[in-house]
Amino acid sequence: MAEYTIKVRRFQPESGEGPYWEEFNVDLDPSLSVLDGLLQAKDKEDGSLAVRCSCRAAICGSCGMKINGQSGLGCKTQIGEAQEQANKMKGATGVTAAEASSPIGAQAPEAQDAVRATGQVEAGPGTTAVTTATEAPIVIEPMGNMPVIKDLITDMESTHWTKIRRVTPWLLPHGEPPEREYIVEPESMIDITQSMACIQCGACVSSCLSMEADPDFIGPAALAKAYRFVGDPRDAETAERLHDLAEDPHGIYDCTHCFSCIDACPKGVAPMDQIMRLRRRAGEEGIEDPNSGHDHEIAFVKIIEKKGTLDESLLLQESFAPGFKGKLKPNRRAIREMIGSIPTAIRGIKTGKMRSLHKLIPGVHPKLPDQDDVKAIYRHAEEHNEELNLYIRGEEGDDAQPDGAAAEEVTNG
């Protein structure tokens, strides 16, 4: 058994007051969970502390929350590990996750002074009455990107379920249904098993940095769900789904590729990887999206094939007005974007950052001395185009089998 201080961001709408921090001291084994700690506080100190939970075994997906700023499940995070993380961040920065991530004005005056002189770890401004100098409080907050109903309970309807419904999360087969079940090759379902592991906890939505900047972004959970049906061989509206997801300006090309959802997901769904699969499929479908996302991807890939390293000015031009195939027809948004980038270029020329011909004129960038080698790689990869999904394949064991024997079977299959 060990003592922990958990610092909970609380909010009771009926009180008419704003949110505030409250610390609880709990006593439990380090291998037990943060959720266990919260339930002990609720049981022994304050029955009004509101938290959703059910299975306590990372299956039901009810107890999504932020622990030391990291989104995840309360029941899947050991309290001992959460304590180590809290100590580490406080030791490095002098402030706790509470002050860094969600300063609550009047209740956390220490947040106003987040600057710390070097070497004064002990005298960090976050020290409070119940916190000892060495143990930082474990900071627990409701999930992000969602309205808070009470304490740790968020309204998942407005930003999670609405977006899930947005992607038509059911099968759309065509033709007469079979007499009994649909029969598919087992291999054809492997690709979507990862997205099927989702338990709808919302941790990825809570962590999403694109949604923070653009609340209209369809988001990681809904897009991972979308791939679950795009990749399903029984579904007959794959192309329609891809058009829908690519043509929405807040769709697959609004993901900023920050990996937050990958670290937040308690089930290894890796929503961002599913979004990249959707982009790949939309590209194969030849869909022209309003964000020029596909044009950007193709431009990037072709520039490296031609030059080996990135020609940045050519990438900008080609992303908006693809001329590689002899068509130079930017759409209205692209023209606006290109004109919009002129002041940035002028500033770059002024400071000397961009003051050279190959940075200003698209296409002048030199190619690598042995660019033919790079081109050979392109030919090889385009012939095979293999995708290795470690979630499905798993990592090779050290002594599991003679070098790659089993893996080889799968590769060739």
């Binding site: 580490k88 490095a92 920065t93 002098g94 860094a100 991530s101 987040a114 600057v115 710390r116 002189a117 070097t118 940095l209 694109s210 923070e212 653009d214 300006p249 609004d254 900023t256 590729h257 920050c258 990996f259 937050s260 670290d263 890796a270 020029s292 950007h296 991807e297 990037f300 890939v301 490296i304 080996g308 390293t309 990135l310 940045e312 974007e337 002041p343 500033r347 770059g348 400071t351 000397g352 950052k353 961009m354 940075k359 690598l368 001395p369 790079v374 050979a376 790689i377 990869a381 095979h384 293999e386 995708e387 290795l388 470690l390 798993g394 990592e395 090779e396 790659g404 893996a407 590769t411």
Partner: protein, 304 residues
């Protein structure tokens, strides 16, 4: 600890493109630190995640080529870009996980006399300058080199997503403190750490051409938060973050509708200042957001 460090050096594309001051300052700082750089001038772009989005095997093979070129020198590899680190680590993870796949990828390189070999424990590595500085060079040794402590300079760290996530891929099991190394370096150089919300968030750069407002709102918010927390400057090990936080800063200011104007330093520049290099030699005049305030703070800091 005092042995010389010699690495195969992959500068990346952007450090020789729109952030030339990064490549220049790295060369200068390596010399001052006594790190010998063997530049991989025939290596190719890491793909920045975009090529992997198009064709995973293509990205894996392109990076296997870079790794093989580095291995040919008999040296471990160093990069100076969080995005290179993340994109290359992703490919390396797949290559290392499956010997059959590795053999398949190496087949594409065999015509060039190249082959990527999986390293055993403690063998060949690919590390960002930040990781190398803390893990191999050592903070104590760094401290000994400081001739102009950054006293009074309030520095906000900005990591770049690709170097902090996903933790499982980026060696955090072995090096759990990789997400607080910038703080450690700032401290070792004598500066003050500024904690603000955006340190480990996304600069928005990957969607600057696709979703400009989302992108600039991210950059503008983080710069604004750092200013509100009292920062004199930000420091980043990622030139792509630098593009959005510095080069696009005036545009980001318009989107978040407030004045910004915060200097953003590349990691080698911050180290270089503490090692006594002049701002001009470090290319700080090439930045869009003026670095004059940083220079003033440092001069007054030395006087105090």
């Amino acid at each position: 600890m005092a042995e010389n460090i010699k690495v195969a050096y992959w500068p990346g594309c952007v450090s020789r493109g729109f952030t030339p001051e990064l490549h220049g300052s790295m060369a200068l700082v390596a010399q001052k630190l006594g790190i010998e750089l063997v530049e991989l001038d025939r290596a190719n772009c890491c793909g920045a995640g975009v090529i992997a989005e198009h064709n995973q095997e293509l990205a894996d093979t392109l990076n296997a080529r870079t790794f093989a070129l580095a291995q040919q020198t008999g040296l471990s590899m160093m990069n100076i870009c969080s995005t290179c680190q993340g994109a290359q680590s992703e490919c390396q993870q797949r290559l290392d996980a499956d010997s059959a796949y590795r053999a398949h990828v190496n087949e594409a390189l065999s015509g060039q006399g190249l082959s990527y070999e999986k390293a055993g424990d403690g063998g060949w590595t690919n590390k960002n300058f930040l990781w190398l500085l803390v893990e191999d060079y050592g903070l104590d040794r760094l401290k000994e080199q400081v001739v102009r402590p950054l006293s009074g300079l309030r520095v906000g760290p900005f990591y770049g997503c690709y170097i902090v996530r996903p933790k499982e891929r980026l060696g955090y099991a072995e090096y759990p403190d990789r997400d607080i190394y910038l703080e450690k370096v700032i401290e070792a150089l004598g500066g003050q750490i500024v904690e603000y919300d955006g340190a480990r968030k996304c600069c928005g750069f990957p969607v600057i051409t696709m979703s400009r407002e989302t992108s600039l709102r991210q950059a503008g918010t983080h710069v604004g938060d750092a200013i509100d927390a009292g920062a004199d400057c930000l420091v980043t090990p990622c030139p792509l973050c630098h593009l959005n936080l510095d080069m696009q800063q005036p545009e980001a200011a318009k989107v978040v509708n407030r004045d910004l104007g915060l200097a953003v330093l590349h990691l080698p520049q911050l180290v270089g200042l503490a090692l006594g290099a002049e701002p001009k030699e470090l290319g700080m005049g090439k930045h869009i957001a003026s670095t004059r305030w940083v220079e003033e703070r440092l001069t007054s800091g030395v006087a105090a």
